[in-house]
Amino acid sequence: MTPAEIRDEILDILDNIAPDDDLSNLKDEIPFRDQMELDSMDFLDIVMELRKRYRVQIPEEDYPQLASMQSTCTYLAPRMLDLERIAR
């Protein structure tokens, strides 16, 4: 997956978790938490959705890497290079 594809996938996950949020103005470099009202349960859901969709395992100590869209894509790019989505 390319970083652009990863970004689309994360957007899809966020839209799935918070369908009432408008994601069109999401700023990649600003933490999700400062733009959307996501709590710790929602962050865990991002991790679990990635695991469900791509079998990508993210260890707990790496969760801080998922703070913003930019850091998430940077973190996931090498880990999802050869992955394709297996389930929706």
Partner: protein, 470 residues
């Protein structure tokens, strides 16, 4: 082999089932009754729909609110705000001798009512509010402290204390006389700081959304499948035996049957399960009247009226079949309907529901004939008590029904028909067996939104973190 068997298809079991099925766990919900919903269910009688349980959904926050249990629940279950079609209340009140205190989904009304009725208590009330806002849900030690002691240290006017406790105890307190401070804070937020609402179609709309989602995700539901025991091997739950003798295996069991009831299911093989923790004792009757007009035409426009006919509020098991000195008058008509595609502006019938405290043992001991007669007798008494506080609607009644502690037991299977379960809660959902968990009423979150969050949070905390081999 299932990943998880869930006992009970009430709100908490369905919500847990959705979370687990969404993340590809193989889940089966077993329900003893012939329908879903548990305490919050519905039935049809003589061509009319009746709700059991639900008067109003507490914890209501408007569309766009990001904080609070409702918003969190919607994100966790992947629903849109519109999916529950919640119509806000028109207003409610608490009525005691000589005092009527109105409240709505806007805290300012309650503030001004307190200032008007209890001048001098405003500062104390603000102090109480800040205690409640600061309260942390997960602190078990603080949770169990006496709410009466803490509140009476802040508020000095005895009647105001009783008035504040009345709706909070009515809508979610399993303890007699006093309340856990944690439960007090949760209920206070859900009723006074957030608010009341109801879907036009009643509880069935919420149930329909939950069950549809659960099935879409591949979850299995078996109605008329009561669990008679939990099988235990080497200190772990390995499955359940159904009333019909069939055995089903699972890696985890999540029970919404209640603490005492769940422990009984595994006590044959788990000595630690024989803990001496009492079942709840508080049960209700509900007297339902269908009217030939809308309650507003009789001058009654409040969604909920909590009443108490003497200065002290007695929250304990009734000695007689019912205790009608206190009660709740709910009119499902008095919500602002008409803002969702399938809704009309008003319900087809006027409805008034009156909840009274009741004694399970006494209702249970009646013969069939006596039971029928006592229902009629106590219906009249409950209504006669309520019309001291709301306009007299008796000349407009065209149909009635009543449910009793026996009905509640049939829907919930809780000992004593205990509406809010056992007084002692198990906030973390754990049991003496490492892979048996409880959710729902006896985990401790109450109300529709609370019990759904209970299922979600126990599934999240204990089952979803396990590696799945799906």
């Amino acid at each position: 082999m299932y990943d998880t068997i869930i006992i009970g298809a009430g709100m908490s079991g369905l919500a847990a089932g959705i979370r687990l099925a969404h993340f590809d766990r193989r889940v089966c919900i077993l329900e003893r009754h012939y329908t879903i919903g548990g305490l919050n269910s519905f039935y049809r009688l003589r061509g009319r729909d009746y709700d059991v349980g639900l008067h109003a959904v507490t914890n209501f926050t408007p569309k766009g609110a990001r904080k609070g249990p409702l918003a969190r629940l919607l994100r966790q279950l992947r629903f849109r705000w519109e999916d529950f079609a919640l119509a806000p209340q028109l207003g409610s009140s608490i009525r005691f001798p000589g005092v009527s205190l109105r409240f709505s989904n806007d805290l300012e009304l309650l503030r001004s009512e307190i200032a008007r009725n209890f001048p001098g208590q405003q500062d104390a009330f603000e102090q109480l509010l800040s205690r409640i806002v600061d309260y942390d849900d997960l602190d078990q030690e603080l949770y169990e402290q006496s709410a009466r002691r803490i509140v009476s240290e802040i508020i000095s006017e005895p009647m105001l204390i009783e008035i504040l406790f009345c709706p909070l105890m009515w809508y979610g307190n399993a303890r007699e006389d006093d309340m856990d401070f944690g439960q007090f804070c949760i209920m206070f937020r859900s009723i006074f700081l957030e608010g009341l609402a109801r879907p036009y179609a009643g509880v069935r709309l919420i149930l329909r959304q939950l069950i549809r989602r659960f099935r879409e995700l591949g979850g299995e539901l078996k109605l008329r499948h009561g669990v008679s025991r939990i099988e235990v091997q080497d200190g772990r739950a390995v499955g359940v035996v159904l009333d019909n003798g069939t055995t089903l295996e699972a890696r985890n069991i999540l029970s919404s049957a209640g603490w005492v009831e769940t422990m009984r299911l595994c006590s044959h093989a788990c000595p630690e399960a024989n803990q001496d923790r009492p079942a709840g004792r508080l049960s209700f009757t509900e007297s339902m009247a269908v009217l030939d007009c809308q309650p507003q035409q009789l001058g009654h426009s409040e969604a909920i009226v909590f009443y108490n006919d003497h200065p002290e509020f007695c929250w304990r098991k009734s000695e007689d079949l019912c205790d009608v000195r206190t009660g709740v008058v709910c009119s499902p008509n008095n919500f602002a309907y008409g803002h969702f595609p399938d809704d009309e502006e008003s319900l087809p019938d006027g409805i008034v529901r009156i909840t009274s405290l009741a004694n399970f043992d006494r209702w249970f001991a009646l013969s069939e004939e006596e039971y029928r007669l006592e229902k009629l007798r106590w219906f009249d008494r409950a209504v006669a008590s309520a019309v001291r506080f709301v306009p007299d609607f008796r000349a407009h009644i065209i149909d009635t029904d009543m449910f009793t502690p026996q009905t509640i037991r049939r829907f919930t299977w809780h000992d004593n028909g205990a509406v809010y379960g056992a007084p002692q809660k198990q906030l973390d959902g754990t049991t003496p067996l490492p892979n048996l968990f409880i959710c729902g009423t006896d985990q401790g979150f109450v109300g529709i939104i609370g019990t759904i969050m209970s299922g979600i949070s126990i599934a999240n905390q204990h089952i979803l973190p396990q590696a799945s081999d799906a």
